[in-house]
Amino acid sequence: MATMPILPPMPVLDLVKSFKLKTKQQELLIRVSILCLVYILAFITRLFSVLRYESMIHEFDPYFNYRTTLYLTQNGFYDFWNWFDYESWYPLGRIVGGTLYPGLMVTAALIYRILHFLRFAVHIREVCVLTAPFFASNTTLVAYFFGKEIWDTGAGLVAAILIAVCPGYISRSVAGSYDNEGVAIFALLFTFYLFVKAVNTGSLAWSLASAFGYFYMVSAWGGYVFIINLIPLYVLVLLITGRYSMRLYVAYNCMYVLGMLLAMQIRFVGFQHVQSGEHMAAMGVFFLLQVFYFLDWVKHMLSDTKLFQAFLRITVTCAVAVGAIALGLGMLSGYISPWTGRFYSLLDPTYAKDHIPIIASVSEHQPTAWSSFMFDFHILLFLFPAGLYFCFKRLSDATIFIVMYGLTSMYFAGVMVRLILVATPAVCLISAIAVSATVKNLTVLLRSKNKGVQTGSTKGSSSSKAASKALLDQSQPFQKNGAIALLFGAFYLLSKYATHCTWVTSEAYSSPSIVLAARGAHGSRVIFDDYREAYFWLRQNTPPDAKVMSWWDYGYQITAMGNRTVIVDNNTWNNTHIATVGRAMSSYEDEAIEIMRSLDVDYVLVVFGGVTGYSSDDINKFLWMVRIGGGVFPVIKEPDYLVNGEYRVDKGAAPKMLNCLMYKLCYYRFGEMLTEYGKPPGYDRARGVEIGNKDIKLEHLEEAFTTSNWIVRIYKVKPPNNRW
């Protein structure tokens, strides 16, 4: 489906002919209709999740975003800005207004307002669900213009098509995935496009626009740090390669200064642009540009080259020295904060594993496996180097930018799974260049009636490079046939890409993860709606000020759906608090009860997959609780829970493991249960073993609720013994 627009459909052609439009007009019409189709395609391909399940918010973080958006629409912007949420991080509370990126919520609320102004009485949830697909559609337009800017319209169109269905992007922008990234990728690409446009034109207006684009990006996602480091790096590369120009000077200065001032208006970012180590590169490049400009001016004034050489040496040395001293003093005095752990872990993939277990524990922060590159990019992975080749062949300011964007983001994508998302636009754009250039060369070859041999024109396509080279030396007819064959090959690949993308979207990326689906014995779909069942139970059956303790993964969902206070949630700002919960979960019951009493915990919620075979449950996450707890409280030691370095829950498990709170809460009364035919009672299907402690007695807690498939289990903390 994605390949269709390249060869316009027949009815359109007929229509075009009947109107006898000029070639230029025809081209415009085709282009616009292709873009419209891509725009719609990008939207509808993301609706699988709505069709499969229902219009619902997915995963974990989106629930927080949804809750805040709801608050924003109900209470207005100023209350949202000043919102102090006492339902999370009990008893510390969280200043929501100052600790989030408001871009997404404001965008959704704005769309909601506009729709209501137009008398569309939609619920805010529907707006939230469809925000990401809507912005994905917008991204395709930006990709078109970006592709046009760096290569030509053809590349732009191909880029729009590729990005519309690329799984790497769809994974974070299906309907219901109401997360910052959904908006932020649009903002990221838009900012880059505007900046490249500003560099190409040297126009203050484009540069100003890119500053606003940057502001929107800052307001939407913490990934803006990528922009504020990539653009200076790009400027630096241009300086080094001698491509410094007035256009660059105008574009960068205006974008940096205004972008920085605008970004400071976001409370969560605040003064980081002048105070944090991550933003210092941009400031350094800003000063460097001034020095460059000054030197240029001096060179212009001084006619004597020797004198200028001496002056250059002195100025450069002084500038570097002053910069280094300023940076050193800033660091020493603590005015400039050092790099954060997340930043370190990006540059050095092994850093988080050794130092910050809480970052390493998140599945989307894991290093990327090769297979997931293949899964998310498919043929783009092979077209990417080809596109790089084309870019290098026709080097310009714009292509240098896209090459740098592609290479750096690919590195980051290798470090963290979730950053594949950031690399996707670059990969799509560069691949689009490859596809467009190859197809263009081939068609030119086909169309040329009696022209000479066009050497090297078909080198681009990596899959057909060798073949085309061999063909080039042949006489004309063979060359034409070869070109036709290669074109068909390219279309075959692209159609494969389209089918792959559709399949991945429907099978892998459209699951809301709050509702689980499995295949039954007869091939039918079985839906496990246990999470919502449990949260609904909490909402209906517990006192309104009850405090629920769970591992932080479920915090946002409990507050958003259960409307109850949680101890920790997915905003992992306080490591000690999370470690306290980790400690409680990994202690014996009588030690844990002390911790729970000190936190006024009323209910404990655990997620257990032993009955359904759901593998991302709390027992499988448990070692991270131990590690995070042990990182703050050394009484918790990881080896106590392992047997010869092996993590097990059966009879051979470590005694501390068999008696810790998490084990008891997960496996309470599980020993009586037959889960699978032909297996002993208490057979854990998620781990495929018979559990080691079947006789679990709870002293200070009592089972309050277990969902129908045992996925969520809720326990009530008993009051202290009346007579003791």
Binding site: W81, N82, F84, P91, I95, L599, P719, N722, R723
Partner: protein
């Protein structure tokens, strides 16, 4: 017998109408079930029972193996308190058992338990559940060869005297018990793990628990002041329990006996038992030492409505009213040691409340410069008094964006700098553009 039981059932069904039931507004017990081994105890302990009756309590005497025995009907308790004077009962009649007695206490009702040397396992188990362990040797009694009661008949020194009372006016009343208390029964010790149980009457250091008829072969397990003669428990829900190893403590015989402690010249016409059991039963039945705290209020200074949330550094006023039940009405409770905590994981503010003498306690303080979910906590635990633990959750938020100072004096150089910069730029532009 049949008609008698029918009459009892009839009477029982009328009970809720006939008498006031226990309620938070008048906490004194009204309906008391007395379980006896046999009805002769009614006359042998009549002084004690009559004193209870004269205080307005309705006593319902039943044999402990009465098959119609039941503490509750349709989920409602029929009694406010239970007196178990049936030490030898192995199994209660009706639906009553160990768990039922414990549930009765755990739902806020009171219990007096008296055992003696015939104490059954059931009785001992009830005591154990309440944090009191009777001597495991079933034939053992408390023997004291130094502070025994001088009497003509006794040579085994099992009728002992003790005047080692707990120092608490709330439990034992303001009248000092002059005469020592006579005790004849078994020993118990309080469980060290239980923080709620109190020894009201302890044995002297020379006492020990052993079988008086056999020769002592090994050192006794319970000796000296580890032996408790009478213990009380005030549960967390303020249910009160009294446990003693001597049923005779309440008997007319010991209440009326003249007493002289061995080695002492003081002779008393009457033992201290009557005053002791009367006063302690007043405590157990909530006629004394029962506090309530009401109207916990907090206000921002200068406002009249209770806010749902405070801001950091707000000035607030806190007040609570505390009353004591006098047996008939709520009287203001006056003390100078009631404290309020402003608590978030640890107390950020701890203030002693001042009182106006009419039950109102108040304090005003500044909310600390920390945001979070705080609690006003009043934890008042005093010996013999009902414990008060109130907490009220209140979030404290940081400043809103428009609650900061608009202009800061220290920042004036910066304001000056920016305005001169603007002016300078303006002048420069004019000069640059039009000068030539």
């Amino acid at each position: 017998m049949r008609s008698l039981s029918f009459f009892f059932v009839f009477l029982l069904s009328l009970f809720p109408i006939l008498c006031f039931s226990f309620n938070p507004e008048s906490p004194t017990d009204r309906r008391v079930l007395v379980l006896l081994d046999d009805f002769s105890l009614k006359s042998s302990h009549s002084i004690f029972f009559n004193s209870l009756k004269s205080r307005g309590l309705n006593l319902d005497f039943k044999l402990s193996d009465d098959p119609s025995l039941s503490l509750q009907r349709y989920g409602q308790y029929l009694y406010d308190a239970l007196i178990i004077f049936s030490p030898s009962t192995e199994k209660f009649g009706g639906s009553l058992d160990l768990a039922a007695v414990i549930d009765f206490v755990d739902s806020g009702h009171d219990l007096i338990l008296a055992a003696d040397s015939t104490a059954s396992d059931l009785i001992k188990n009830i005591a154990t559940e309440c944090g009191v362990d009777f001597d495991e040797d079933s034939s053992a009694m408390v023997i004291d060869h130094k502070s025994y009661a001088i009497s003509g008949t006794e040579g085994e020194h099992t009728l002992i005297v003790s005047d080692d009372f707990i120092q608490s006016d709330a439990i034992l009343g303001e009248t000092k018990i002059e005469a020592p208390v006579l005790f004849k029964g078994i020993a118990h010790s309080v469980n060290a793990a239980n923080s709620l149980v109190l020894k009201v009457l302890s044995a002297s250091p020379s006492a020990y628990s052993a079988n008086p008829e056999s020769k002592l072969l090994s050192p006794p397990l319970l000796t000296g002041s580890a032996i408790s003669l009478v213990s009380v428990v005030q549960a967390r829900n303020n249910a009160r329990i009294m446990i003693t190893g001597s049923l005779d403590l309440f008997s007319n015989r010991l209440l009326r006996t003249a007493v002289q402690k061995s080695g002492s010249q003081d002779k008393y016409d009457k033992s201290g038992n009557e005053l002791f059991v009367t006063e302690i039963s007043k405590w157990v039945f909530h006629e004394r030492g029962h506090l309530k705290a009401v109207n916990l209020r907090h206000l921002r200074v200068g406002e009249t409505d209770e806010p749902a949330m405070y801001r950091i550094k707000d000035d607030l006023k806190f007040s609570v009213e505390i009353y004591e039940w006098s047996g008939k009405s709520w009287e203001p409770y006056v003390a100078d040691d009631v404290q309020v905590q402003f608590y978030m994981m640890s107390p950020y503010v701890l203030k002693t409340l001042s009182t106006n003498g009419k039950g109102l306690y108040h304090a005003s303080f500044k909310v600390p410069d920390v945001y979070g979910v705080f609690q006003f906590k009043v934890d008042y635990h005093r010996l013999g008094y009902a414990s008060l633990s109130l907490s009220k959750q209140i979030p404290v938020r940081p400043f809103r964006h428009n609650e900061y100072e608009r202009f800061i004096t220290t920042a004036f150089p910066y304001y000056g700098a920016s305005f001169t910069m603007m002016a300078g730029f303006f002048i420069f532009s004019i000069l640059f553009l039009y000068n030539k």
